[in-house]
Amino acid sequence: MTGEIGLSIRGGVKVYPGTRALRGVDFDLRMGAVNVLVGENGAGKSTLMKVIAGVETLTEGRIEMAGREVQFRTKADAVKAGIGIVFQELNLFPNLTVAENIFIGHEPVRGGIDIDTASQARVTRALMARLEQDIAPDTPLDHLRVGQQQIVEIAKALSQDARILILDEPTSALSTAEVEVLFRVIAELKSQGVGIVYISHRLDELMRVGDWITVLRDGEITGSRPMAGVDIPWIVRAMIGEKTREFPRTHAAVFGDEVFRAQDITLPRAGGGYAVDHVSLSVRKGEIVGLYGLMGAGRTEFLECVMAQHPASGGRMFVEGEPLTERDVAGRIARGIALIPEDRKRDGLVQIMAIRENLTLSSLGLFTRLMHLDLRAEAAKALDFVKRLTIKIASPENPVSSLSGGNQQKVVIGKALMTSPKILLMDEPSRGIDIGAKAEVFRTMRELATQGLGILFVTSDLDEVLALSDRILVLANGRITGEFPTGTDAATVIAAATPSYKKDEAA
């Protein structure tokens, strides 16, 4: 650990419309070391890294390298300065070969005309040897496992002489063996003097590879120190503060009968094993059950099984004790299941349709006689839900894309509620909305539960699951690994969510 500072940010502020993602951040990146970055979803980790990688620019503040101020207007500027980033979502081309992927955008050319495939292959082979991988340069990328693809991404960054390498949740899709390889690669790069930024939710992993740790909360740095002497309670305190934000019940919790039960739900994973591994759970009327898990734990996949998105899934489900036999979404909605998807843009809304049309999309049957749609009744119902959920809009006829994230989320909730569900499934209900809107969404969830709705929400936000749940279930590697009552402390929940690797291998 040399500890020489290779890059630093002073007073970094980043403002997005409606939110301040970074509020005066001072960050030092040390060379020849692993700089670990932790924080909840939305704490600003990704924004900070995007700023360093030139994908975003700071609203205020400066970036310095070797004592001199630098400005990265584009990703190319950052690459030139020796900064490489491996995003959580891989940016690769499955239709091209490994070598083509590594050199995409900076292909070596002969005489300015054709691609020098020989040198491309030679450099790729050298990179793969450096990374201890037995991957031929002309292997099509889609023949590789996800873990190997991740290695290709790293090779891509290294091929551009990256002196600083940012890894955003690199292990979320890796098997245990692949994680070990990655750690060896990291150790080797470190010894070559590369400065590594390592973002992860898996605290045991961070403790193992990290040399320096920086904790972010709500866009501010709440802790920064060498890793020696750091323990999980210290990290958790820095991550979520001494006191969690609370959304207390206004009424005493009254739970009714069981409204939803899932038994032995399975979803096979491509290439063996299960993405959802015999999950059983139940939700009672008026109960909010929080399903906590890290990236890749199988949370979203489980909800998709419930919503009939995976024909290959197995297991049985019951609504109010009656078996759920419907095989399509419309049938399951009719039985009282409603889903609020994680990705509003992709799954939740039809962006170019009006607010009204989005609200009523799942419940057009309410206004239809024979084939005829009663537009007046539809408009009245839409307006009613706009008022009930206090959605702030100018006109229900405007396209839903013109709304802010929080209001869009309320439209999605409104659409789900209009189907008169018995059980509400919410996937990351506060993703991508600001703190004020978050509190309002949580308040809405509380109210709905008080009215007798069963709510099952999944989240990777520890704060959220602790504050909202009447009961906490923890999911790891597709299995339920813990069940806790409300009031459980954070460290216990985290421990259940990150079973150690040894245990995995035995299983």
Partner: protein, 349 residues
């Protein structure tokens, strides 16, 4: 309210842009009325509307398909195939192979031919939904298959003399393409009926709403309980229905069926839909917009003919108009989005 310097001016611009196809229609009408003296006469209006009716019928079916985010290249071939089917039935009946031939009357022939068109449309729909073939490729395939079948039916020859006969109950067959009702050609009435029906479906039925939702966000629609595959089957079947209707009208009008009937009709139908404001990326479009689009194209070509403009220039002008329409469409959606954004930003404050 600071961002909106001149909201009224902006709203006016938006209104003009929204009604742009209509504005274009008025402009071409006014232009040809002045330039071509015989243009604005009742007799000419009937002729033009007959030309427009066929393209408009195809374009109505095409509009639904494009709104779902698809494309139907096979309509021209379905026109040809259905013209041949109708011609065959009028001329030859169906040989049962048992030593006697079954003959059909006009209504039965129309019914069978429409069923053939719907059937080809359903094949398109099944290829796209069940076998996951891209709409462009699936309908390109049926374009060739249907055209080939039309050619095979007669060995490439024309079925002549489709005048029909009292005896077989087919004497009324020519009326579909040549008859008039209350002063308007029957085919124009057919266009009006199909347009009204399609408009009703698009605006006042759950099916119509689902068509827009599928085109706007297929995954989101599916997760909202929309039966995406059924919606797609419907739009391709409906497009096949419209094409069959056009095939029948043409066979009836000419009292002859030629296997090359309807070649490149699909392109004119797409042009009318796009000119009428249908977005090729799906989710947006209106039946009445398409009808006006068809009229603009029809009036443009007939007017230019009457002015004696070379047909080569006509082709160029048509192309320019279509590209222009799409450019203006882009400007309108950008302006509309920014107005809505400003309104909503003000409301959430």
């Amino acid at each position: 309210m600071t961002a909106l310097v001149a909201p009224t001016q902006q709203n006016w611009l938006l209104l003009v842009l929204r009604l742009r196809t209509f504005v274009a229609l008025i402009l071409v009408l006014a232009y040809f009325s002045v330039m071509a003296p015989n243009f604005l006469t009742a007799a000419n209006a009937v002729i033009v509307s007959k030309h427009v009716a066929l393209n408009a019928l195809l374009a109505i079916g095409m509009t639904f398909v494009i709104i779902t985010g698809g494309i139907d290249l096979s309509v021209g071939s379905i026109v040809g195939l259905c013209a041949m089917v109708a011609g065959w039935l009028v001329l030859n009946g169906v040989d049962t192979g048992l030593g006697y031939t079954v003959w059909f009357n006009t209504i039965e022939i129309v019914g069978i031919t429409l069923a053939v068109g719907i059937g080809v449309g359903l094949i398109n729909g099944l290829l796209i939904t069940r076998l996951n073939v891209a709409p462009f490729i699936a309908t390109l395939g049926t374009l060739y298959i249907a055209r080939g079948a039309a050619l095979l039916s007669s060995g490439g020859r024309t079925f002549p003399n489709l005048g029909g006969s009292e005896e077989m109950g087919t004497a009324s067959f020519p009326l579909i393409g040549t008859g008039t009702l209350f002063g308007l050609p029957v085919m124009v009435w057919l266009m009006i009926a199909v347009a009204l029906g399609a408009h009703y479906i698009s605006r006042r039925t759950p099916l119509g709403r689902h068509i827009y939702a599928v085109g706007g966000n297929e995954r989101g629609a599916a997760l909202s309980g929309v039966k995406v595959n059924r919606v797609k089957l419907f739009v391709y079947a409906f497009s096949g229905f419209c094409a069959a209707l056009v095939g029948i009208i043409i066979a009836s009008q000419l009292q002859a069926a030629h296997p090359a009937t309807g070649e490149t009709f699909e392109l004119n139908a797409i042009a009318a839909a796009v000119l009428g404001g249908t977005s090729m990326s799906g989710g947006r479009g209106r039946i009445f917009g398409t009808i006006i689009g068809a009229f603009v194209i029809g009036i443009l070509s007939d007017g230019l003919i009457m002015m004696g403009v070379s047909s080569f220039w006509q082709t160029v002008i048509k192309g320019v108009v279509i590209v222009l329409a799409v450019v203006i469409d882009q400007a309108q959606s950008r302006l509309q989005a920014s107005v809505a954004l400003a309104q909503e930003a003000a409301a959430s404050r």
